[in-house]
Symmetry: D2
Subunit: 294 residues, 4 copies
Amino acid sequence: MKKVAFIGLGSMGMPMAKNLQSAGYQLHVFNRTTSKVNEMESLGAQGFTVLKEAIKDVDVIITMLSNDEALKSVCYGSEGIIENAKKDAIHISMSTVSPELIEELLKAHNKNQHFLVSAPVFGRPEAALAKKLWMVVSGDPIAKEGINNVLEAMGQGVFDFGEQVSAANLIKIAGNFMILSMVEALSESMALLEKNHISRQQFVDFITTTLFNVPIYQNYGKIIAQRNYEPAGFKLELGLKDVNLMHLASDRARVPMPIVDILLSKFMISLEKNRASLDWSAIELVTAENAGLR
Amino acid sequence: MKKVAFIGLGSMGMPMAKNLQSAGYQLHVFNRTTSKVNEMESLGAQGFTVLKEAIKDVDVIITMLSNDEALKSVCYGSEGIIENAKKDAIHISMSTVSPELIEELLKAHNKNQHFLVSAPVFGRPEAALAKKLWMVVSGDPIAKEGINNVLEAMGQGVFDFGEQVSAANLIKIAGNFMILSMVEALSESMALLEKNHISRQQFVDFITTTLFNVPIYQNYGKIIAQRNYEPAGFKLELGLKDVNLMHLASDRARVPMPIVDILLSKFMISLEKNRASLDWSAIELVTAENAGLR
Amino acid sequence: MKKVAFIGLGSMGMPMAKNLQSAGYQLHVFNRTTSKVNEMESLGAQGFTVLKEAIKDVDVIITMLSNDEALKSVCYGSEGIIENAKKDAIHISMSTVSPELIEELLKAHNKNQHFLVSAPVFGRPEAALAKKLWMVVSGDPIAKEGINNVLEAMGQGVFDFGEQVSAANLIKIAGNFMILSMVEALSESMALLEKNHISRQQFVDFITTTLFNVPIYQNYGKIIAQRNYEPAGFKLELGLKDVNLMHLASDRARVPMPIVDILLSKFMISLEKNRASLDWSAIELVTAENAGLR
Amino acid sequence: MKKVAFIGLGSMGMPMAKNLQSAGYQLHVFNRTTSKVNEMESLGAQGFTVLKEAIKDVDVIITMLSNDEALKSVCYGSEGIIENAKKDAIHISMSTVSPELIEELLKAHNKNQHFLVSAPVFGRPEAALAKKLWMVVSGDPIAKEGINNVLEAMGQGVFDFGEQVSAANLIKIAGNFMILSMVEALSESMALLEKNHISRQQFVDFITTTLFNVPIYQNYGKIIAQRNYEPAGFKLELGLKDVNLMHLASDRARVPMPIVDILLSKFMISLEKNRASLDWSAIELVTAENAGLR
């Protein structure tokens, strides 16, 4: 079985690495925080505190990091992946990062005869642990073929978006945009109804048993109706990165996306109101406040 | 069994009336177009060309009309419902109309000792025919109790939003807003992806088998991905009424709803581009054009 | 000299009526509040408490009222202007009202062989008193010719926008829109600068001595830089009417006006925050709050 | 008199350099295009084709370049200003660039004991030639004092915004935002009026002789009313840079600026419609098209 290095044991990376370990892969793990490395070692993985050594002679390198900066920091430099991965190694980038960075990394990897596959995921930590992630993948067909089993060990389905390596990143951005658009639409509806003395919860119950009878509406509908923003499923301050990626993508492609403008404003206002650690759906509070409801 | 008058045999009213007829109600039907009346007569209903006679001595009067104007025209005046309905008659208004009109009609009805129940529906003509409508209802509890069977004969579920008679109208407005917000979000996503040479259909296939695995996303996703706006399921020119109702509701309640502003702009632009008879989801074309995609 | 009836002695009407009186017109005045009537009587005008008598046998009837409702209330009904003005009387509507109402009044007046001229004004009460109002006028050419002296007695300039009677109302709406757009642009600029620790006042001093070296920018710039919203030059709650007129005009004509959407939101939010009696430029506070500046 | 190097002889830089030359400064000029250098040589300046030599032993170095990239290219590197300017040299950055770049350059200059003063200008090439530019300046007080005469030789007024070196850049961004907000407001007003068959030109004549009686409204009002977008005073494709600077500033400072969102959309749409070489006020065409006017 393939030797796999897993870089980044955060709230998403950790459960994903655990599933790979359970699936029988010979796992090298690397993380800045040693306690996470120790936890994986106790499960049988081989822990590393020097990145360069973690990836030496490894077939597949998975990165699951928080943003462009973090991904660049493990890729570039004399200790980084690009300099030190072996020939024909496949780097699977699973982070939510900009399509531009992925295209840039592809060029760097290709010079050193590595492959780069982009494979961002949809799902929260609980879904990662339960092997319920959805994955979207793009890049070189042969490389994708070679890592299919690896991906399948971490989720419930893989969707292939072709050879353009950044395609999966754009799909991830668009998917997050769909979720936040739903949050905004729910917020505006509920503000209208609450102001008219109609139960927010009853509205959610209605639409999520009829037209929008699907868990994502049920879960967010409930959170928003009850303003249950703590503890956060996904923190607002982290969500800003995703909204910025939407905005950057809209700018780069010259595609006016007015809902993105709304979302960006509401994230900015929310952060100014010290809601960084609330769930990202707490942007609803701005809508309610604008309506004089709080 | 109750004697029921059905006013308005349009594309929605006709299949609803048929279901009532099938359920065994003694039906009076009234419509401006005689051919529709004749069609119902052939099924056993009693047809009328004079409104006043259609509603005389009837227990329940259902109105299913296209807008506020049409509903007012059958309610007011010496030939109208308010003047001519019998004492204790229950008027079920099932049209998508403004909450203000419904509150106004309630007062007029109460003066003449009638009941008014508001019961707008969700679903298109095919759903109406298949008895698959969802209904939301509000108004006097005793009246609602009295007409429950009538409603159930026309749909698959009734959701009660309390005694405030216009509550169901606001729910209908909010529900339509949720649908159009989804249309706008899908349009913006697809424009971003198409501009980046990523398949619109593949994106729809992905999100509608995973996060948004529900018929309303599947159906609209397919229509929009394929730009299959003819024949229209619901015409853009009729949809403008619904968007105007959203806007009016937002204004009246002083609830800023920025997505409503976006929708209203796109409906206006679409009508200027002679798309009145396309499906209302054809507002997507404006988004695509703004991105230079057409 | 012409006999002139002046209807509406509010904060604008009063100084305008005084200037007419000074110019030597034989003035009939009518107002709901008797004290205002008395004040004009003390200056030599003839006061009336019955509208019908104030306008009997008068050549020119001027209305200066707060909104559509108020104008309708003096025009319609058995005691109103349309029923009681003499043949060939000229009604000059100087209120800021909807173009639709003006078109509707024209028809009613024409039936009774009256003329209707629309002549809204630009300027605040101080400008009215100082005879510094700007007037825009539209309607029948002969009627306009006939009342030119009357208008000139109340301001510093009259601009003719042709025969379409509602044209002047649309110009008034567009002019107010230009002013509020300036307020919004100043607000956004100043929020950006304040957040970067740059003096708001210094910015205003710079632009209003260079590019925007004109009193309207100087005055509003100063008010906004100093957040000097009390006492109000023009109250926010009254301004809402003007923004609603903009919005209605945009809707009727199907002209998307995104800055109007922004303004309407900010007025709604401001009213919810109990700022009804501040100057209408206090919508700036919402921009500042959204930026975390207050 | 001071020895001054002028870097960047574009449409703005050229007339500015000429005014410095006329004022008697000993001028070194550098530009990528030799013909521009030759033109200045014919007026008595000393031309250079090697940047490093142009700035050697010079007291004041002025840069007037098109964007961040261009400014970075002359500042950094072994041939650049930072490496090669003499001790105590004063770099005056007059380009419209990001505040972030200016702050970054300040640090680099300080390390080498140079001064950096930021001094962007307002005005088009004709104004530059006529010495009618307005300048805003910020940075070290002693350095500003030292270059005051230099600046005054190129314009009609200098406004000091303090010691924070990037302050003047933010003022420049805010000033451009004020201009484009005016363009957008004029565009929306005129679309509303044109759709109602009211003369655009007459509206402009009215407001620019009354409320907005100032050249910037008169000039842009005329251009827009007549749709006279060629030849461009300032090209749309260059204007995009300025709108992007506004957007970036809004993002960085977390100040929601909804008019900036509108502007950015309209610039994107305009570029997709191949209007790159029209005047930047041609964003009006999008507003007109959205209203069905073209």
